[in-house]
Every structure is written in C-alpha cells, then in structure tokens.
Symmetry: C2
Subunit: 79 residues, 2 copies
Amino acid sequence: MAKVKVHVFLKPGVLDVQGKAVEGALHGLGWADVSNARVGKMIEFDIGDGVEDKAAEVKRMCETLLANTVIESYRIEVE
Amino acid sequence: MAKVKVHVFLKPGVLDVQGKAVEGALHGLGWADVSNARVGKMIEFDIGDGVEDKAAEVKRMCETLLANTVIESYRIEVE
C-alpha cells in the first residue's frame, strides 16, 4: 500500500477568488504583511500494491478526475 | 519575505464527504485499488520580514481564520 498526495492549484493567471478572500480577511484582521495568497486542494489516498506504475496511474486519475487541467495544475507525491 | 504553506485537513472521525466522493468516483472509473481518500485545503502565501516570529503568527492566523479548529487540524510550513 502506498500513500499518494496530489496538490491541485489554479494555474498562474487564473483569478484565485478564494486566495483573494483569504488575503483580504487576513488584512482585515490586522496581518497587513501577507501577500500572494493562494488556496488549493490537497487530495490524499492509499493505492494498493496491485497497481504497478503508481505515478502513471495517478497522473491519469488527475487528468481524468482530480484536476480540471484547463485552469488547474497538479503535483503528485507517491510515498 | 518567507513562503508559508498551511495544510488544513478534517480531523479523524469527522466524515470527509469530499473524500468519499473522490473515492467513489475513482472506483466508478475503474480504479478499485484506491482507499482512505481525504480532501483538504492547502493555503499558500508570502509573509513579510516585518513579522518576527512567523510560525507563531501563522498559528494565530490558523486559530483565528484559516482553520475551523472544531473539526479541522492544520500543519504549518514556513520556508
């Protein structure tokens, strides 16, 4: 069994509404020294040993389901 | 300027609806060997050098805004 972590973030240039909201709220709460806030998804799951090339399979999962590759980029970690 | 990463996840025992949805969809697409799927938030931002104890400040940001500490736990990375 391997642990998989997938980081999904909006591509640069795509307006990150959640990021802007977090940044604005932090400024409002007094943390003025915060900038470039971005919010992304982190998906973790276990993948069985029956899967041979785990990284390739997870890449296919990302392309198929986990990331909207038009506006999102993803990074895969297999432990 | 330091780069801050905050991983926010649901605490064990709290039903992870998104995780269940991802797991079910992956099974439906033929990846039966996937289990324990969890979906969390990853918040990244830059914090200025004016902030002395960055880790302590970010912890306060998490307790105040970034995480719902009743049902979520968080992990902080300051680079």
